[in-house]
Symmetry: C2
Subunit: 217 residues, 2 copies
């Protein structure tokens, strides 16, 4: 292959198919246990963990929650969630650029699956690779923030096409950022008209109740 | 493979080696032409293109510049650069999660290589995959922004280990973000003590002259 052109994506096709099969196995386990599952994707720093913290704080009195957070190297995200008194398993993906169904399957026995109503699975911070690797959750939430620039959505159509809910976060910074959140909403709906789009600030709490409604909870 | 555990990264090992060999071929072309080359990596929205616009504006009177910008789908970044009157080739990587030496090699004949002193190559917005795929440039610049949160550096040690210059951007938002830029500098230098770290604001121009010095230009 050396000296020749090659494509990363082509070589990954077998992996993607194997992953889809495993994801169905994982999803079957969740369905058998009656657990509602959400997979959260988004770039580093978009506020995925902060959004989860806000959701956990509002939902923990009403549902039995568990979380899985994925990160390349650290345990920082899981520690943030655990401070809210909720079970959280950390997966370190190492050099993997996305969480896979295989990695999620590996930790299923660490989760209290008989005592959980809702499971949130936070992917690694990456807006590209997770588009190709589903993990077996019922719904996918994509999180972007207005600090990533107004073009972040149209630059990543694939992830918005395959998500159910889109969160446009850090809306508290609206007045100082040179972006139009309403245009971002429009971009998201143009890519995927059935998407539920919510403007949020994990910091101030704005939009979190609307997000809970959009998740059907 | 279906039903079995697998790792994306393991399967990519052959690709990574083939890419390294191609990167050396690309680098040889640049060296023969006497072109200084810089590869810019960072997450979506960190400000890679904005930093490049600031550099181009200051350097275009002194050097003959050319740029290559990579993006999953759009031509937005190249158009931003071209507005400064500088040659810019756009590579659309499609479903590839990183720019590869192969993709860069494919556009070499579109670049005016005999009339260029400095080439900047902007990678796709991703802090994970580009760590495994070098493209044949002499120096790598990694760009993060303080809006990505204080942990963005320690969460991505690999990319900081293999970079020569680290840019911590959007420093103009210092007073409203709950992060300590000096701690981020410290994190970067702990991971890679030989890294040159520069605090910048592409918006106000703060730190751009220091960045030019750090690049040896």
């Amino acid at each position: 292959m050396s000296g020749q052109a090659f494509r990363i994506f082509d070589v990954e096709q077998d992996l993607i198919k194997a992953n889809e099969k495993l994801a169905k196995e994982v999803q079957k386990v969740f369905h058998e246990k009656g657990i509602k599952t959400f997979d959260i994707v988004g770039a580093i720093g978009a506020g995925k963990t902060a959004i989860l913290e806000a959701l956990v704080e509002r939902l923990k009195g009403k549902y039995r929650l568990a979380l899985v957070t994925a990160d390349v190297t650290t345990e920082i995200d899981a520690d943030r969630i655990r401070r809210h008194g909720v079970e959280c398993i950390q997966i370190n993906t190492g050099r993997e650029c996305a969480l896979t169904a295989s990695l999620l399957k590996n930790v299923l026995d660490k989760l209290p699956l008989n005592d959980v109503d809702i499971l949130f699975v936070e992917n690694v911070g990456n807006l590209i690779c997770p588009a190709d690797f589903v993990v077996g959750c019922d719904k996918r939430i994509v999180v972007v923030s207005i600090t990533e620039g107004g073009h972040v959505i149209i630059k990543h159509p694939l992830l918005f096409k395959m998500s159910d809910v889109a969160v446009i976060n850090k809306i508290d910074l609206r007045s100082i950022m040179d972006v139009d959140p309403e245009k971002m909403v429009e971009d998201a709906l143009t890519i995927n008209p059935s998407l539920k789009v919510v403007l949020t600030s994990a910091k101030t709490g704005e939009g979190i109740d609307e997000l809970i409604k959009a998740l059907g909870l």
